[in-house]
Symmetry: C2
Amino acid sequence: MGRSGETIEPGDGGLVSAAVGAISDHIRRHGLGPGDRLPSEADLSRSLAVSRSVVREALRALSALRLIDLRAGRRALVAELDDGAMSSVIAHGLHTDQITILQVYDVRRTIETRTAALAALHRSDAEAEEIGAHVEAMRSQSDLPERVMEEDLGFHRAIARAARNPVFALIVGSFECVTRQTWPINWRSRTRPEEQIAMIDIHRDIARAIAAGDPGRACEAMARHFDESVRVLAAAGQV
Amino acid sequence: MGRSGETIEPGDGGLVSAAVGAISDHIRRHGLGPGDRLPSEADLSRSLAVSRSVVREALRALSALRLIDLRAGRRALVAELDDGAMSSVIAHGLHTDQITILQVYDVRRTIETRTAALAALHRSDAEAEEIGAHVEAMRSQSDLPERVMEEDLGFHRAIARAARNPVFALIVGSFECVTRQTWPINWRSRTRPEEQIAMIDIHRDIARAIAAGDPGRACEAMARHFDESVRVLAAAGQV
DNA sequence: CAAAGAGACCTGTCTGACAGGTTTTGTGAT
DNA sequence: ATCACAAAACCTGTCAGACAGGTCTCTTTG
């Protein structure tokens, strides 16, 4: 069979999955990086010898995985690493009762005690600053739960970034959807102001340990944070 | 606005992403679980008031995320949790130089020291048996690198399963593509038989600690395993 | 009652068409 | 020669219709 360019091999599990593979290969073989443009749908249709429908479905699949960015009128671009796909997987697992929130928390504890330690070791001054700023914002807006939650999420994201390992950031980011569900439960169960302050204080301890460059203390404070959250969640009927 | 069924709201970032959301919602609202059937493309096309092309692209996107299974002639099924999507994300990150192999190893170390400890706590006898069998198979086929690698991968997967937390299994599974690349490097750098045996012995130590129900020793042995792998990889120019 | 066959249903793929973005080109003014 | 702006070329998003081939179901038959 006249193999011209990247013609799809027959016998595959469908033309679309073959096209997905061919387009991924194209990215790899041409050494494309984030922001680089892919061939147009018409070009791909020609070179893969399949209809534009098949190419479109393949591109849509890659877009769902966030390997490429699609936008009307423009050619597809290679995408930057993004936690959207992993996030969807976790959300699906939760919604279909294949995983539980406590299981996610166990993984988060494992991952984030490590990111806290790494952040303490690798953080720049600007990052220590940003992490502290999130805590300050939580404290100063403690009457606006919605805001406190956003700052809390930003706090954990910032620590993951400061750990300087995008894989950690990816995983932490993909759990954000879980936290958005459980955070209000956690907050509501702390009715007295001193309980809310205690929770924010743990965050401050983590931030200080990271700022001080003390991985052991950062890890220990993060562990306390998760133990506390899990305790509250379990008391509230784990939801 | 006449909301009939699950008609798509306008103003979204495209009909397809709206359809993806609507179909995900459908799964959630109807409490569908793995194996349950989705409506046909024609039904979805009608109820969402979009063309079949749009529905197909939406289904293809969900299929890429492994939230549903598509097969010719059959209706789409809700899928079981699967590491395929996360695996693609990691592979893409590596191929586009957005993450490095050592970064993946750092995450693996973090995750797998924990799965080893959890496996020691939660394993069934059958699971301890299976983990040990993988080690035995590595030892007895040590002249067939290909086989040793497969048993090694199975060993780590079995431990993740024995940890009884599918989220850990998901993450470990999604790193398998990395291991398949680095494993041969690791193996080739151990030219003398006693070096190869030493590597298998670490696996045996892990298996024994898990069988003995000793989380501390399991964690420590797994940590040794990763330290050793990273040392060899770094010596080989990290690749 | 079980197995084989027919029909309905469904998905995979192709073609052609058109609206509305985006990039490039070409033109004219400065 | 350069810059701004308008036109053209290009590209993606969506739709409609068509047909081949896989799957399920129900009925008929042995």
